[in-house]
């Protein structure tokens, strides 16, 4: 059965490219623009993995992830953002909320490897 990946990002280009890439790798992909929509959708169509931006149109990605974790406590989350975090900062703060942190400049091949790693668990 195809694994379901939910992508939340306010930039349409990023959503489209990630959907195109992950679909070509055999995943079922749902793309959403905002946090409210995401919080609504996960109840009816539970994802196996969430990829989210940090800065969303009307919300904070980390805040949305906190709310999603209530419904999906075991679902891995990748934070895909343009904001550069120090490794120590990630370990001490972000790692409690997300499974992985990737810069938006990360090549697709590495994103794929991270997705496979998290879905294999």
């Amino acid at each position: 059965m195809q694994k379901h990946i939910l992508i939340v990002d306010d930039e349409v280009e990023i959503r489209d490219l990630l959907e195109l890439f992950l679909s070509s790798q055999g995943y079922r992909v749902t793309t959403l623009e905002g946090a409210d929509e995401a919080l609504r959708v996960v109840h009816s169509d539970r994802p196996d993995l969430i990829i989210s931006d940090l800065q969303l149109e009307e919300s904070d990605g980390l805040a949305m992830i906190e709310k999603l974790k209530v419904t999906l406590p075991d679902t891995p989350v990748i934070l895909l953002t343009g904001v550069l975090f120090d490794a120590q900062v990630f370990r001490e703060t972000l790692s409690k909320k997300v499974s992985a942190y990737l810069m938006k400049t990360t090549p697709l091949a590495k994103i794929k490897a991270e997705v496979e790693r998290l879905l294999a668990v």
Binding site: I14, L20, F21, G82, M103, K104, T105, L108
Partner: protein
């Protein structure tokens, strides 16, 4: 294989079958003609036997009439006389049939006519004897005895009959030999035709087998060529698909990298523009290469009036009599930060604004390539400068 080869084989096979048909027709024609001849020969043999039968009948009737006459002369019994007449009648009938049978054979007809003459002489004597017998028996016997001595006797008729029979038998033997030879010819013709047809059939079969073998070889070669071609097409297609997938992946990766770079650039541009402090990006020679909007706001100078100009043209360090920002230049050359330096920046009207200057060297790996000069405005009366 050339496309003309099957056609040539077909032509050759057709020629073979035409030859077989011709041989068959020739054998049939010869056989039918010989059968017709044999039929005609058989008719002639029957005809000869009929002639022999009839002349045998003449001899037998002669004997019978002669015997009946002699018996009648001794017994004077009318039944013997009637038997004699009946035998004479049969004698005439045999002679008539024999003449009819030999009317197309002059030599035989001559012999039959001679036999008829002898028989007629005999009949004449008998009739005379019978006539005499009605008056005087003795005279009749004498007359008969005299006739036997002077005219044709039964022995003479028998010799004539045997001669004629011998001739007919000789003809029969001749016809028999001819019939045998015809039958042999027919047999040889039929067997020769069968043998020839058999050879032609073997030839045609050999041709067909040869053609079939050639076709099988050609079909196998074609199938092998097709298999090789299909394999090459599959390999080539697989290569193309793999190349296409690789190109598509690379293309996607490039698009992703491009948008990521744009995104990052936009992000940092926004951060840079959002800073309230005045930020100058400078080269190692302390020339301005970039400013943030706060610089434009405070100095009332357009970026075009700032870019590529010496920083010292706008910024003065407190206590720097040279006015060339030497401490800043030195710190930048040495790659160290310079913090909290009191300074001023002049606006477009030459009015100074008090600021605190900080220098951050910019490194590309280990090499200092420029610096960021941040000016914290200490006192700026925006309304007075408007």
């Amino acid at each position: 294989m050339s496309p003309s080869v099957p056609d040539r084989t077909l032509r050759r096979v057709l020629i073979f079958f035409a030859a077989i048909a011709a041989v068959l027709v020739a054998a049939v024609v010869v056989a039918v003609r010989n059968i017709n001849r044999a039929e005609r020969g058989a008719d002639w043999v029957n005809h000869t036997h009929a002639v022999i039968l009839e002349i045998d009948g003449v001899l037998a009737s002669t004997h019978a009439s002669d015997s009946a006459l002699r018996t009648f002369l001794m017994t004077n019994d009318p039944r013997d006389q009637a038997a004699g007449r009946e035998a004479l009648g049969a004698l005439g009938e045999h002679l008539s049939i024999a003449k009819a049978l030999t009317r197309d054979e002059p030599a035989q007809l001559t012999e039959v006519l001679r036999l008829e003459t002898l028989a007629n002489q005999r009949i004449d004597i008998m009739q005379r004897v019978l006539a005499a017998s009605r008056t005087d028996q003795t005279e009749a016997v004498r007359t008969l005895t005299a006739a036997d001595a002077t005219t044709a006797t039964v022995s003479e008729i028998r010799r004539a009959v045997e001669k004629l029979k011998a001739e007919e038998m000789a003809l029969l033997a001749e016809r028999d030999t001819a019939a045998y030879l015809q039958a042999q010819t027919t047999r040889w013709t039929v067997w020769l035709g069968v043998a020839l047809d058999g050879l032609l059939l073997i030839g045609a079969a050999w041709l067909i087998r040869d053609d079939l073998r050639a076709r099988r070889l050609a079909a196998a070669a074609l199938a092998e060529a097709n298999t090789r071609l299909e394999l090459r097409v599959r390999e080539r297609t697989a290569d193309l698909v793999a190349t296409n997938e690789k190109l598509a992946a690379e293309n996607l990766e490039q698009r992703w990298a491009h948008q990521a770079a744009e995104h990052q650039l936009r992000y940092y541009q926004n951060v840079f523009n959002a800073l309230n402090d005045l930020v100058f990006i400078v080269t190692k020679a302390l020339n301005v290469s970039r400013v943030n909007p706060a610089v434009v706001t405070v100095t009332r100078r357009e970026p075009s009036a700032l870019i590529d100009q010496p920083l010292a043209q706008f910024v003065q360090l407190a206590g720097d009599p040279t006015g060339k920002l030497d401490p800043v230049a030195r710190a930048l050359r040495e790659g160290r930060e310079l913090r909290g330096q009191m300074a001023s920046i002049s606006d477009a009207h030459g009015r100074p604004v008090a600021v605190r200057l900080t220098l951050f060297p910019v490194r590309d790996r280990d090499k200092v390539v420029g610096g960021v000069v941040v000016l914290e405005v200490l006192a700026f009366d925006q309304t007075s400068t408007v």
